[in-house]
């Protein structure tokens, strides 16, 4: 279905998913403001959020199934498989987060219905990031997402650590946004446009490959993105922020926020700067440092939450390997891995939230001792998540890692592939101890784990995540096909008719 983006009707059609989500946000915000102190309404808002995310997902799927493509060059929003695929990933992450949150906010007595509205707003921002055809839209999406997540990090006002997390995230995030914006300004200065396709055209046309302003602009963009995806050395905020935030929010940040950062990064690098050698080396090194540092520091963590925080840094490194390949295969690998990564990360945090009735920050890996006999289903799900994070065959993450390695080897980056597998071996050193504790150590006391329960919607979420990881591990065909189409849809401008 070709859509003419110069007409109001065409633009509306192209933005149907975003408009649906915006409408839900407005309605739910009013409800939240109206009945602010009612726990039952809070729950209803949560349930409506699920419907909001579901209906937005349907809109995305409809648009994708229609084969929506733009007539001419996309101006502000792209209309391709990559946008739809990333939108679905973000919606999935948000959906799972909300399912975890329903019971969590009750337990922790967080009375703030706007919590759900903020998740929706952040998701909306992410969808703009994944679908932006213009650096300005990327920035708008980034800010919409970030501001919502700054608030979410501190939504538990009773916790000083949450306050610390929110402040830290906000200060450093604002700083990173500054870098990002400065980068956009320099690139605009060099090319005279902020449209991704036109930038690409100008860069080739004017031979700006080694232009100082251009290089500086790309460097600043990379720093901004590096911060958002928690790549080393821009990761300093991550452990404290992940540690202090309410666990479902941490899961949301680790999964969806990171995926959004990557989606925008992949799109900008592949579409605006495709074929420019300058960023390849930088991303290559970022990937290496992130994998090595993330995995090594995770090895030293005793608290489960901090271990998962560093593990998410390590996974940013794996995703950067996909980016560094600079090929359609790399983008496709990113898409597939993002789905697996969302499932396993949110799943691991869900188990942590269940085990952390006395405060998730204090759950040590060894505190899981004996969970295998006391709570076999929870332990079983956690085992699936840990093996997935390790990238073990039989799980979706293995297929994802295989895909990333394929992209790296195909791009003749064998050294990067070897470093990735080396990092994976190190990661066994911290993904196996939880399994070991759960099954191979006895429970410390007879009443241990009595309170560890996953209830209500979260139980469904955890079950679905574990089963989906195994299912995609053995039958990934459909998902692979979707990922490939999404990755290949990031086509350079030359394939569009350049008249505008």
């Amino acid at each position: 279905m070709p859509i003419d983006l110069t007409t109001p009707g065409g633009v509306t059609l192209a933005l149907v998913p975003e408009l649906v989500l915006t409408a839900w946000v407005l309605v739910l915000m009013l409800v939240a403001a109206w009945r602010h102190r009612d726990a039952r309404v809070q729950r209803d808002v949560g349930l409506l959020t699920l419907i909001a995310l579901g209906s937005t997902g349907l809109a995305v799927a409809w648009l994708w199934a229609q084969g929506a493509t733009p007539i001419g060059l996309p101006a502000m929003m792209a209309l391709d498989g990559f946008r739809f695929a990333t939108s679905l990933v973000f919606l999935l992450g948000a959906l799972l987060t909300v399912m975890l949150s329903l019971g969590y906010v009750d337990r922790e007595q967080i009375q703030a219905p706007e919590y759900y509205v903020l998740i929706l707003l952040a998701t909306l921002g992410m969808m703009f990031m994944g679908g932006a055809a213009d650096l300005v839209v990327v920035f708008l999406g980034l800010e919409l997402m970030s501001v919502a997540v700054y608030v979410l990090a501190g939504v538990n006002r009773k916790s000083v650590f949450a306050a610390e997390a929110a402040l830290k995230y906000f200060l450093l995030g604002a700083f990173a946004s500054g870098f990002f914006l400065y980068g956009i300004a320099l690139i605009y200065g060099a090319t005279g446009t902020t449209n991704l396709w036109l930038i690409h055209g100008r860069v080739l046309e004017l031979g700006l490959g080694s232009n100082v302003m251009m290089v500086a602009g790309i460097g600043l963009l990379l720093i901004g993105f590096g911060f958002k995806v928690a790549a080393v050395p821009f990761h300093m905020w991550t452990p404290d922020v992940y540690d202090g935030s309410p666990t479902p929010v941490t899961a949301f940040m680790a999964a969806a926020v990171k995926a959004a950062g990557f989606a925008a990064l992949v799109r900008v690098l592949h579409q605006a700067f495709d074929g420019l050698p300058i960023w390849h080396g930088a991303v290559w090194w970022l990937a290496v440092i992130t994998m090595v540092v993330g995995n090594l520091i995770a090895l030293a963590q005793r608290p489960l939450k901090r271990m998962l925080a560093y593990s998410s840094i390590a996974h940013a490194g794996y995703l950067l390997v996909a980016v560094a390949s600079g090929s359609a295969m790399g983008s496709a690998a990113f898409l597939f891995y993002a789905v697996a990564y969302t499932l396993m990360t949110v799943g691991a945090f869900a188990v942590l939230a269940a085990a952390g009735t006395g405060g998730e920050r204090d759950v040590l890996i060894d505190d899981l001792s004996g969970l295998g006999t006391r709570r076999p289903w929870v332990a079983g799900a956690m085992t699936v998540f840990m093996l997935s994070l390790l990238g073990f065959p039989g799980t979706a993450a293995f297929i994802g890692k295989w895909y990333i390695l394929s992209a790296a080897v195909d791009a003749d980056q064998r050294l990067l592939a070897v470093i990735l597998v080396g990092a994976s071996v190190v990661s066994a050193g911290f993904y196996l101890p939880p399994i070991m504790a759960m099954y191979m150590r006895p429970a410390p006391t007879t009443e241990a784990h009595q309170a560890t329960r996953i209830v209500g919607a979260a139980r469904w979420a955890v079950g679905v995540m574990a089963v989906a990881l195994l299912l995609f591990g053995f039958w990934p065909n459909r998902a692979l096909d979707a990922a490939r189409r999404g990755g290949e849809s990031l086509r350079p401008a030359s394939l569009y008719s350049l008249e505008r």
Binding site: F398, R414, A417, V418, V421, L432, Y439, M440, L480, R484
Partner: protein
């Protein structure tokens, strides 16, 4: 027999059935009431053994892959579920299916906690190991190779001895490290071949036929494969995980580790590393390294065994020595030596498996494996003493037992290409006699100097049932190995000829001496 099985279409469903049966069994075991778990597991493994026996009769002694199964899995990447059996893998399969019912029976009283998951894991492990031996697609091979780690990790870690956690993670990490580098190598081959031929496929045949396209990186690819397999074998100096894992694992775990898992390493060399990269494998420098490391393994393993106070550890180190012979046999690359290597792989599974069972039986009676704690058992437990003596003699390689056939063939074959190496390796046989005979002397003979030993019960009927098939195999292979050698020969000959041709090495005339020739 053959006709009847063919009538049933056995060749078509055999591999599917024997891979699927243990998985179904695992599900059933998990669903069964706990007291029935072990009985159910025994029935499943017995059924599995019976099902696999058909392979023995229907296998045609040619070098061709038989019982092939090809089913699309992830067509986008050219991954298909490709299985097949040849003379090399046939006996690994049969060894596995023979070992598993014995492993279940051997765990009967040893495993007292969490029985259902234990037996379910044993069954999953069965599928994983069988899958490794029949996979003809490198992706499928890799998946089986890795998946089998998890059940073994749990078996060591949950049901193992005092320092089981350390042993379990060491076992896991060693194997994981090696196999991940192999993964990069597999992908490199895949893309190089796909670019050159335009056909994306992980199929072993396709990659093997077009392996010439990866020549520029052949050394590194070979090294990655070789590292993965060498850790598994284990070759000196990658063997340090082995004593820990073998000693800490429960009896059945040690039996499976020694009997089957180690063979996956040597099988990997025979199936992948050597035929895919013949010119690297037969490169004089590489050959020298492998042969020297094998010799060090043979001698070092034997010497370390000699000083072990713990009987289980003694047996564990003896594996390093035996597997050194296998590696030497593979690298000598003559028909006899390769046949001998495969026969040792079988023998080691039988003899060392039996030794681990016997060590477990000692432990169950006295809760110690310290050789010094025993003595004079021959008077107290005559049947046990008889079996231990027979098994030890077979492990030493006494003529008339299976051990002799394998080691003799390897030494005979190796003597043609590496006479010095064969001469040094032969001393390993003497060391084996030293450590095992000395051990059984201290365990079985002399005086009963510990009063606790005076009242130990002799082998129970269940324990006899575990050991009897192994003892029968010891004598059968020792006295009449011809049916086995006949089935191995075509594949071994094809391997030797192809590798020698590809590596440009001169063919070695087949000697007239060949015990058990047709």
């Amino acid at each position: 027999m053959t006709a009847a099985l063919t009538g049933l279409g056995y060749q078509r469903w055999a591999l599917d059935a024997i891979l699927l049966l243990p998985l179904l069994g695992a599900v059933l075991v998990m669903l069964s009431p706990p007291p029935a778990a072990k009985r159910l597991a025994l029935y499943v493994t017995l059924a599995e053994f019976v099902a696999s026996l058909g392979l023995w009769w229907t296998f045609e002694p040619t070098a061709a892959m038989q019982f092939q199964v090809v089913r699309q899995w992830i067509p986008e990447w050219g991954i298909a579920y490709r299985l097949g059996v040849d003379g090399i893998s046939l006996f690994m399969l049969l060894l596995t299916t023979l070992t598993m019912p014995l492993a279940v029976l051997g765990s009967w009283t040893y495993i007292t906690r969490h029985e259902r998951p234990y037996y379910a894991l044993l069954l999953v492990l069965t599928t994983g190991m069988l899958g490794v031996f029949v996979a003809l697609d490198l992706f499928v091979f890799y998946v089986f190779w890795e998946i089998m780690l998890i059940p073994m990790y749990f078996i060591i870690g949950v049901w193992g001895g005092p320092s089981r956690l350390y042993a379990a993670i060491k076992f896991f990490l060693y194997t994981f490290l090696g196999s991940l580098l192999m993964l990069v190598a597999i992908l490199t081959i895949y893309f190089a071949v796909a670019r050159a031929t335009g056909e994306h496929s992980f199929g072993y045949d396709h990659l093997w036929r077009n392996i010439a396209y990866v020549r520029p990186w052949a050394f590194w690819l070979f090294a990655a494969f070789a590292l993965a397999f060498a850790i598994k074998v284990p070759m000196f100096p990658f063997h340090t995980w082995l004593p820990d894992a073998h000693v800490e694992a429960p009896t059945a775990g040690s039996v499976i580790l020694a009997g089957i898992l180690l063979k996956m390493g040597t099988y990997g060399f025979l199936r992948f590393a050597v035929p895919l990269f013949p010119e690297i494998a037969m490169d004089p420098a590489v050959t020298a390294v492998v042969v020297v490391l094998s010799l060090i393994g043979i001698i070092y393993g034997a010497l370390v065994s000699l000083v072990q106070p713990d009987f289980k550890k003694l047996v564990a180190y003896s594996s390093v020595s035996h597997l050194g012979f296998v590696m030497l046999g593979i690298w000598a690359l003559t028909l006899q030596s390769v046949q001998g290597a495969i026969v040792i792989m079988i023998n080691h599974g039988i003899s060392t498996g039996a030794l681990f069972f016997l060590a477990g039986m000692m432990y169950e009676r006295r809760h110690t494996r310290d050789i010094a704690q025993f003595g004079g058992l021959a008077k107290v437990m005559p049947a046990f003493a008889a079996v231990l003596t027979v098994v030890s003699l077979s492990s030493i390689g006494l003529p008339g037992t299976n051990g002799f056939v394998g080691e003799f063939l390897v030494l005979l074959g190796a003597f043609r290409t590496h006479p010095w190496a064969a001469a040094i390796a032969a001393t390993g046989v003497i060391f084996a006699a030293a450590y095992l005979l000395w051990a059984i002397q201290r365990i079985l003979f002399q005086q009963v100097d510990h009063p606790e030993n005076a009242t130990l019960p002799d082998l129970s009927p269940r324990e006899l049932a575990v050991l009897a098939p192994l003892v029968a195999c010891i004598f059968w292979i020792g006295i009449y190995p011809a049916p086995i050698l006949r089935r191995i020969e075509p594949s071994a000959r094809a391997l030797v000829t192809q590798v020698r041709e590809a590596a440009g090495a001169p063919p070695v005339a087949e000697g007239a001496v060949q015990p058990g020739a047709r």
